[in-house]
Amino acid sequence: MRDVADPQRPNPYEIHPATIVGRIPEAEDIETYRLQYVNPAMRRAFRFAPGQFNMVYAFGVGEVPISIVSDPDEPDLLDHTIRVVGRVTKAIAHLKPGDILGLRGPFGVGWPLDEARGRNVIIVTGGLGCAPVVGAIEYIFRRRDRYGAMKILHGVKSPHDLLYRERFDAWRRHPDTEVLLTSNQPDKTWRYHVGVVTELFEQVSIDPAKSMVLMCGPEIMMRLGVPIFMRRGIPATAIYLSLERHMECGIGLCGHCQLGPYFLCKDGPVMRYDRVMPLLGKAGV
């Protein structure tokens, strides 16, 4: 067997070791892992866009696709928010700062944050599927003057499911920013809206011609929620969804992440709504 690496033709399957330089707890079973490539050349060369993902590797176990949530202007340190859901994430949860994970990436198409410049941005998340938009939100707040009004809409089942509570509070303090939270199974401490997240879509004030919607969360929320925004005048071409499918390779070859004609690992995970409209909600697609 050969092990000669050809620098002209990088091997897209090659995993590169990265050090865990920090672990930031986000919620029960969810932590953000701050990673840094061991190889200085990789550190210097790596560039990514918010919404793109890496394949994160745990030694002897395997890889999982994880969205990069840190700022693209600081590609030396790469934050990955990981919830323990399976074998690989469980193995990762046992590691501590100083330990080594593997990375392969970045893959996929991220959020259209250049196109969103000068426009109002409505960010919608639901349930636990929040990580891919956190990167976009932080990106915008670091460049606040380039964007119009910000609306962050987030729905959870019970208050217990509300992750990133501190982040929501911090985001609320930015200028020209509205944060709307809702729970449909609230407890006595809940100070926000009561109901499902799509009710917020009806309530929030929007200027449809100037707005762009970025959405991430359960597909049912997207399926039921997007038509509300469209009814309120936002065109399908201004609505973007971060979608999720099983992924083994990240490079469009393993076949698992298909959504109709698309491979979400390379054509997505962020897709413009008009491209996927007929596919969402179709059983088995």
Binding site: R9, F59, G86
Partner: protein, 374 residues
Amino acid sequence: MKDKPIIDQPPVLLVKSSFQRLIDLLHKKGYRVLGPALRDGAVLWDTIRQVSDLPVGWRDVQEPGRYRLEETGSHDIFSVVHGPQSLKPLTFAPREPLLQIERTKDGFSVRPALPDEEKVAVLGARACDLAGLAIQDHIFLKGAYRDPYYEARRKGLLVIAVNCTRALATCLCASMETGPRATSRFDLVLTELDDSFLIEAGSEVGRELLAELSLTVASKRLVEEATHRIDACARSQVRRVDRSRLPQALYDAHEHPRWDVVAARCLACGNCTMVCPTCFCHRAEEPADLTQQYSEHLRLWDSCFTQEHGYIHGKNIRPTTKDRYRMWLTHKLASWVDQFGTSGCVGCGRCITWCPVGIDLTEELPVLLTQDRT
């Protein structure tokens, strides 16, 4: 993806009794020669040293869910059309290590396990197999990411095709316009006649091989005879796929009740995806190493019929057999066209033969495309 014709010289003649000369030449040139060999009641690619290693005097009979070999008593070498294997396992390995990962003092080191570039000559590829190869070349070599493992195997592959002069009951290459004549991606192509082979070259390497064999140009009569046999093979095919309304009509058939009917028969075994020359799904695996010092990152063929294929934490996108058969057929005949510009079906008929219950896409498709949903 239709390639332009690659033959620019008239066919030459090799008498059948001298066929060993071709095999010997390939060995002399340093190739490991693979060809169809009788194994376990079918043919599989295996090492060929002499003509008698090939299934001389045998032919295959294929029907939905049925594969049988019969002795013919003739001295024809290539009357077995094909076995369960296309060229796929030769270029896209069913199971291969991608990386070797070793624990070190500071973490781990990663070593790509690229296959050796080996010269392999495959003798007896069919037009449908070449069409499958063209599709896999496109997927693994022409996309945004190039697969170096596929590339290494593909580079060393010399293809000697055989034009089909005999159609199986399961063949449908004529309607898929992929055969029975091989038109691209071969180095040499043979047409078997009663006492001889016509040989044509399709590449520079093929032309060099022919030059070394120094054969005479075939007579016009034999060339016509070959064309006649290939044309007759096309005409004798009984199965076909009408692609005139694809891909859209199949997308539109998503809710057709026929999916339930076929799902009631389908065992979700995945045989169709394993024998398909174009199916490319794969998954990664790392077998446990007891010492925990070493790990091999493997790639294995996967199938959209498995439980895990559509699984994401706590949810299965395609929980039922109906979802999976629909995914497979819709991908093969519809979304494949949007993804790669061609159909994912090359008309080899293997999915029909090797389906344990004989599900036949040429029987399902017309029903699925019928508007009247009764």
